[in-house]
């Protein structure tokens, strides 16, 4: 069955220098099992091809059913150096929630 990540999770993203952080929070335990299994560093890196030019790090926060991703070399230099419209990566959580998963 195909689902879109936005159906089972929400989240928030922001900047840490030139890296973007994306926190993804599942709405329930079942959703957390799905994101824990399917949202791998490799999959996220591939999803952000052409946006993220560095490595992707993943961290787990099972206590709030969340995963946190750090996407390095993603914000065009970060801060006022970046020429991007979304220089702080504010919309990248939504961008990740576009992802379709086969579950």
């Amino acid at each position: 069955m195909k689902i879109r990540l936005i159906e089972i999770a929400h989240g928030r993203s922001g900047d840490k220098g030139d890296a973007a952080n994306i926190g993804i929070i599942a709405y329930d335990d079942k959703g957390f099992e799905i994101i824990k299994k399917h949202l791998t560093e490799e999959k996220v890196k591939k999803h952000f091809e052409g946006i993220c030019f560095g490595k992707v790090e993943r961290f787990e926060l099972p206590n709030i059913r969340a995963l946190n991703f750090l996407l390095h070399n993603t914000l065009g230099g970060g801060g006022t150096v970046s020429l991007k419209h979304d220089a702080q990566g504010k919309t990248l959580a939504a961008a990740l929630l576009r992802m379709e998963l086969e579950v």
Partner: protein, 455 residues
């Protein structure tokens, strides 16, 4: 010792809702109002203001705000803690004293935390063996030393605690961590000490939840955002803290927004790295130990937090001037809006090429199509596109190249694709690029001091 204290967030950044702190002190009971004004770039802007006028360099909103809320804070015994002193907290305190005199206030004690500004001591610091290498690139600061606009150590909660112990009703600091502003009153009121790592972490996490204002109480909520009521009158978050490190996130009931496990969770994951190692000058907080429980309407209990001993270094935040940038935009309408915008981009780039200007980067985005999600954006059926904003930005060390770029945007209206508008703002002007330089510095090389201003 008090059994609990209520700490309210008044500002999430400089430029936040002007009325939020006023509502926090008037719509219900609180003990402390904490206000974060400083983003990375803010310090360099303030430093420039101070260079022009030695009496400036702080958030000018503060004296104006204090004029409104100081009588209420005095009457209700609410203490105010803010890092809006920027690079000149002393002048900020003097300005607030003036306001208090004008209001006829008989007695007031303001404490200022000094010592975070190390811009004038950079040479001594380097000579003493601390190289302030860039934390991200490893580069030596010597390469940018002459272009430095600001350099500040991030202080934690303890200097503010000292200020409170001296009886301060208002504490104004320079570069203090956002989390320290909230943690400090807990340490002071509950008598926590420097080795109470779990408690310090709890206060730090409370600070993380408050530091972006309305973002914890329903603002910028990516879950069921349409279910959040009365955002037009959003209540900023309030922490009800207890001596054992437990706390409740809430808001004034009369105001809008929402405090739920979901709204708080989104703020918890905002701008964090490794959740087990959230490093502050006060402690290392473990975000994986946080328990959230909804115990009532707009009440989330936070408990079980663990933490560890702080590191031996302070984070240093420097900024330096690194060239110029400018952004031009034009709006193209149906039909073929996207095709026209892409054609305009091609024409403009060819003209820039012919002019032999020097740019480090030229970036084109089409607002309405791909400026947020880039290659993830779905293809649009062109006949259904009503309009597209062509956005092009350049960056260069060469001011003249950026200035000349600005002169090439408007001509596209009469010499490019048709049905174009949106050039009311005049030529885009070059703005200075301020780059950020994060570094570490041994804590023992830094000393802080407290200065009292009073009536």
């Amino acid at each position: 010792m008090k059994e609990k204290i209520r700490i309210a967030s008044g500002q999430g950044f400089w430029g936040d809702l002007i009325d939020a702190p006023y509502q926090q002190v008037t719509e219900g009971d609180i003990d402390y109002l904490v206000m974060d004004y400083l983003a990375e770039v803010t310090m360099s802007i303030l430093q420039k203001q101070k260079n022009k006028n030695p009496k400036l360099g702080y958030a000018k909103d503060i004296p104006e705000l204090m004029e409104r809320i100081l009588p209420i804070c005095k009457e209700k015994n609410i203490k105010v803690i803010t890092n809006g002193g920027g690079v000149n907290p002393e002048s900020c305190a003097e300005a607030v004293i003036e306001v208090a005199k004008k209001l006829g206030i008989q007695n007031l004690k303001i404490a200022v935390v000094l010592g975070d500004n190390i811009k004038d001591n950079i040479d001594e610091i380097i000579t003493s063996g601390c190289e302030l290498n860039n934390m991200e690139t490893g580069e030596s600061i010597v390469n940018v030393k002459d272009k430095l606009l600001s350099a500040n150590v991030y202080f934690g909660a303890f200097p503010i605690v000292q200020a409170l112990q001296q009886g301060a009703e208002i504490v104004i600091t320079g570069r203090t961590t956002d989390t320290g502003l909230t943690l400090a009153p807990m340490i002071y009121e509950f008598g926590w000490n420097e080795k109470d790592y779990d408690l310090l972490s709890a206060g730090t996490i409370a600070g993380h939840i408050l530091e972006c204002g309305g973002q914890a109480s329903g603002g910028n909520f990516l879950g069921d955002w349409q279910s959040i009521n009365n955002l037009e009158n959003i209540g900023f978050p309030i922490v009800e803290a207890f001596p054992n490190g437990e706390f409740i996130i809430t808001k004034h009931e009369s105001l809008g927004g929402k405090v739920s496990v979901e709204t708080v969770s989104e703020q918890l994951v905002y701008e964090i790295g490794d959740p087990k190692k959230y490093i502050t000058p006060d402690c290392i907080a473990d975000f994986t130990s946080i328990n959230l429980e909804e115990i009532g309407k707009n009440k989330v209990r936070v408990f079980g937090i663990k933490g560890y001993e702080a590191t031996e270094t302070f984070k240093v935040s420097c900024s330096y001037s690194d060239g110029y940038s400018a952004i031009g935009t034009l709006t193209y309408s149906w039909p073929q809006a996207l095709t026209k915008a892409k054609a305009a981009d091609k024409i403009l780039r060819a003209r820039l090429e012919k002019l032999k200007l020097n740019f480090e980067e030229i970036r084109t985005e089409f607002v309405g199509y791909n400026s947020c999600h880039g290659p993830l954006s779905t293809e649009l059926e062109e006949d259904k596109i009503n309009e597209i904003v062509f956005r092009i930005a350049v960056r260069s060390k060469d001011y003249n190249s950026v200035e000349r770029f600005g002169k090439e945007i408007a001509p596209l209206i009469l010499t490019g694709p048709p049905s174009v508008t949106g050039f009311a703002g005049g030529r885009p002007k070059p703005s200075e690029v301020i780059a950020y330089w994060p570094a570490l510095m041994p804590k023992k090389l830094v000393t802080h001091s407290i200065k009292i201003f009073e009536i």
